[in-house]
Chain length 337, copies 2
DNA sequence: TTGAAAGCGCTAACAA
DNA sequence: TTGTTAGCGCTTTCAA
């Protein structure tokens, strides 16, 4: 069994309460004799004492941990964000608990959310859209004022941060247009928040837009790669191909590009490619991927500020905060051949 | 405040102990009346009761969570493994708590390990090499018989799983040799476990081997990408380039390939590339990366079996378990031009 | 300057 | 069939 504060107390010959005060740095406040303090500290170190997480959490009513709910930790969009979040959260003395839903189903999303709650996290940052009006979880979060922030989806009545994809998308379409592209394509999951700005921009700049939804049913999440690859194969065989492809994510773009490569279609010479999310992983592609970025660092900072504010009792605004996207120009768009 | 078992007890008009029994499925064993059980269950659901994590952990002495200690969650090797681990661990009713060290320093590695302990995890799977003979952590793990498994590094006296890189590396070198390659290169971190088998195989197959260590000092971990890219730039300018490059990881290979692309050097036409770890991310490169795989799924399964065995009180073997690597042939190796 | 004690929410053994 | 009780390890207040 691990060693407890009581063990130390016995060794030093003081009460457990005294040990607790000293170990929490309240020795001075509690007016414990210097000598006693030193002895306690020494014994604690010698025995490699570490306070019981559970004991502490129980009495404090806090676990000092934040839940991070996302669809897939393999997706660079999420693992890069998780990485950032971990760093920041730890800087604040908290831990990050990851939970991935694999986007099986909305039901699974909610279950994962419940899991996180069961895990005793003090707040949740969610990239899913499951916690929405009408679900018991939504009611609970509101009733308990549970610290919560949703990123990427507007949830009425709850704090959330959404990306305004218009500016970045418009820039991207303009770039394509300037490079002579007249036929664009969207390849990816059905995502109105990304497709609408694209359709708008295409119309505005007088270029056509074809849409190829990657077929992904619930439970198929593991096969994104395969789907994107197949989509690329089909795309390559199209009689008259669009010359620039917008994908719903960098993650998908990687596989799509690989699929094109297999078909002998080269980027950016034969097809230009534009991703979404502005991940570092996109930047490490061959060629580096031009992408519609949403400034993850800023969004995350905002999100964390919002959860921590709630944890500290300051309520967060519930009007969606919109962060404008912008184009991250790299090397996957070129003059149409 | 969240709702407690006592709240339910009051509402139903029974004792808190009764509520606890029923909610833990011990209603029958405790011979609680059917009607009472139903009432309790109903109220619990209505109030969306969730047992306090801390309370439960305290009395059980377990948090039902496993720590996953790795260097970098952006590295596909780790995030793919973490993904697998999460799934399996959750299947067993546990949670996975991630902790990344960024490989700053050994000291940081140990601190992160301590963090995980402080977090109250019931066991740790570590990809770091910090917990080694001589450290207090090592002593503690042994003294407390703390459930622990190290992957990738042999730790005397502690359960560990290492990869025997010889078979896969030999296959890879043979493949290169058969394709006409006479000059190989190793690009990556100094990693004897990978370099030695490579040197052996090169000698055995009569091909030369140059070594280019990517300069990475502690704290520079964030710049792997930049380093790999620069290494590629330097490599591209070499007067007489080796024709096949072995990297220390798929992660690094991605950036190295991108760097080569920028210099106009094409894979596999001008340079063949072989990665390490056999990640899905490598398979999504253009071209798909041939890689020395170590069967992460099997290793992880083994590792989890070992931690869970220890958690359940069965001690695990402390002789290193070696898993042979094998070559994952994809499309980044071709005939030398 | 320190000890004693209450109580956080829960489980489990034992009474009633 | 159900209630009571004793802790789990900790923080914190109040006494001594």
């Amino acid at each position: 069994m691990a060693i407890t504060a009581t063990d130390i107390a016995k060794r030093v010959g003081v009460s457990q309460g005294t040990v607790s005060s000293v170990l929490n740095g309240n020795g001075a406040k509690a007016r414990i004799a210097q000598a006693t303090q030193e002895k306690i500290l020494a014994v604690a170190k010698e025995l490699r004492y570490r306070p019981s997480f559970a004991g502490r959490a129980l009495v404090r009513g806090r676990t000092r941990s934040i839940g991070f709910l996302c669809g897939d930790i393999r997706n660079p969009h999420f693992n890069e964000l998780a990485d950032l979040a971990m760093e920041e959260v730890e800087r604040r003395g908290f831990h990050l608990v990851l939970a991935v839903t694999k986007w099986h189903t909305a039901k699974n999303d909610l279950e994962t959310f419940d899991n996180l709650l069961a895990r005793g996290v003090d707040g949740i940052i969610s990239f899913g859209s499951a916690v929405r009006k009408g679900t018991p979880q939504y009611a609970q979060v509101r009733a308990e004022q549970f610290p919560f922030v949703c990123i990427g989806h507007a949830v009425a009545g709850l704090p959330c941060i959404i990306s305004d994809n218009h500016p970045g998308t418009d820039e991207a379409v303009r770039l394509c247009q300037a490079n002579g592209h007249r036929r664009l394509a969207y390849v990816g999951l059905p995502e109105p928040a990304k497709e609408r700005p694209l359709a708008d921009a295409a119309a505005r700049h007088g270029v056509s837009l074809d849409t190829y939804h990657v077929p992904m049913r619930p439970g198929q999440w593991a096969q994104v790669s395969a789907c994107a690859r197949e989509a690329a194969h089909r795309f390559a065989k199209l009689p008259e191909r669009p010359t620039a492809v917008f994908t719903s994510s960098d993650h998908l773009a990687v596989d799509f590009a690989s699929g094109l490569w297999e078909m002998g279609v080269r980027i950016p010479d034969e097809v230009s490619l534009i991703g979404h999310d502005g991940t570092a992983a996109g930047g490490a592609m061959s060629p580096p991927l031009t992408s519609i970025d949403f400034d993850g660092a800023q969004v995350l900072q905002l999100a964390l500020d919002m959860v921590f504010a709630q944890i500290e009792g300051r309520p967060a605004a519930v009007e969606p905060v919109a962060v404008p996207s912008r184009l991250l120009v790299r090397k996957s768009v070129s003059l149409v051949s």
